[in-house]
């Protein structure tokens, strides 16, 4: 459920202006309305071929938003919100099959970005984004808990493979290994198993005390500012540790 927020037309107009780019303008103009995107959409196919769910319709809804600018009202915002969150997962299948290569996924993402300007973001996603800002990861894992988890996993690992370690903040390592924050939170064994592989492969690797969550759920909200912040955390960690590469978890 979305939080109930009144419409802020000026903020919406600013978001539209900020997000207007050459690709989007071109795509919204040249769509020939051929309907060839229909069969590529799992929403359309799994809802008895409901024509209201074909990708081009979703693009049209975002186009409407771009035309309305500060003339939006609550009813329209609600429609836009349910289109970009309820009818599209941004899987890009239609992009791949569109003869013009019109990127409906990017258009949907832009629509979500417009909703951000109105604070219209699914509640759980809001919490997740707050967690990134506060803890640097999506699961509210504190640095202390994170280090504790890694040390605990190292102990478990050493019971099976004496000598194997989980290096933390090792400067100049070849590889920085990053994980999904769900791993320390719910499946810590995944980390020791990855460590096992690295140890047996003789890899020069490390984990970081900061910027270790490689997920970026802010991206799903089309919240470019937050998404940029989250990516930057990992980049900063990689630069500080002077690693050659960043590996992300499976």
């Amino acid at each position: 459920m979305a939080e109930k927020v009144a419409v802020d037309p000026q903020a919406f107009k600013k978001a539209v202006d900020d997000r207007t780019n050459a690709r989007l303008k071109m795509w919204l103009e040249i769509c020939a309305h051929c309907g060839l995107c229909a069969d590529t959409c799992h929403f359309y196919l799994s809802n008895d071929r409901d024509p209201k769910l074909i990708p081009a319709i979703k693009g049209k809804k975002v186009l409407e938003a771009f035309k309305k600018k500060d003339k939006i009202d609550e009813a329209f915002l609600e429609e836009l919100y349910w289109t970009v969150y309820g009818d599209c997962t941004m899987c890009r299948r239609c992009t791949m099959f569109c003869p013009f290569g019109i990127d409906i996924a990017t258009i949907t993402s832009t629509g979500r970005g417009l909703c951000v300007s109105q604070g219209k973001v699914p509640e759980n996603l809001v919490k997740t984004i707050e967690s990134y800002y506060e803890y640097g990861n999506q699961m509210e894992v504190s640095e202390e808990d994170w280090i504790d988890t890694l040390q605990w996993m190292e102990e478990e690992l050493q019971e099976e493979l004496p000598g194997a370690t989980i290096p933390i903040d090792k400067k100049g390592a070849n590889l920085l290994y990053t994980v999904n924050a769900r791993e320390p939170k719910f499946y810590p064994m995944d980390i020791s198993q990855a460590a096992m592989v690295f140890y047996l492969a003789g890899e020069d690797w490390t984990m970081s005390s900061k910027g270790w969550d490689d997920t970026n759920l802010a991206m799903f909200a089309g919240d470019l500012k937050a998404a940029g912040y989250v990516s930057q955390l990992v980049r900063d960690a990689a630069e500080e540790l002077e690693v050659k590469r960043v590996a992300i978890t499976e």
Binding site: N21, A22, R23, I30, A38, K60, C98, F100, G101
Partner: protein
Amino acid sequence: MNLVTLYELLRGPLLWLAFGVFFGGMVLRVILFYRLSKRKDGVIYRFFSWKWLWLSIFRWIVPLNETAKKNPIVTLVGFVFHICLIATPIFLLAHGVLWYESWEISWWSLSEQVADYMTLIVIGCGLFFAIRRMVLPHVRIVTTAADYLLLAVTLTPFVTGYLAYHQYFDYNTVLILHMFFGELMLVVIPFTKLSHFLMFFFSRAITGMEFGRRSAPSW
């Protein structure tokens, strides 16, 4: 104003105007696209790749893609339509004569019989698209009045051209209508979705590169 002055107007200044709006409009569109993209579409230039640009365009300019395979009829009609639409006016003998009269330039032309068939093919394919729009629910729902109007704008030069060649109805009137509709089509192209004749290449290239930078083909 009699038919002769109208003819001369359409053959002279209005034709210049139509070509001017068409070429000028398209050049302007490309310039505006380039300028805005330099400012707001960094991703195009950061991941620019000639390889994926050409591959993406090639795979769709000839039907070598999944969509073509899955929609053989639309693909066939679409390709035949576009080929005849572009080739017929350029290689029509009667048009060639006009170019020769004005500029003393000439090039290869189609036989009149073939051009006649190609004109009918354009009209037939156009009707196919119109019917497809009305019949298929998922096409009907995205269709706007502009889609029918633009289809009509595209077909009228061919319908009137066909009538003029066979001298059905009053030849002079039909000829004038033919010139008018032809010029109308040129004028609306830069401002409508018909601009896809050029923007297609930009869009295809960009999506080709976007998928390509992840080593994924977009066809």
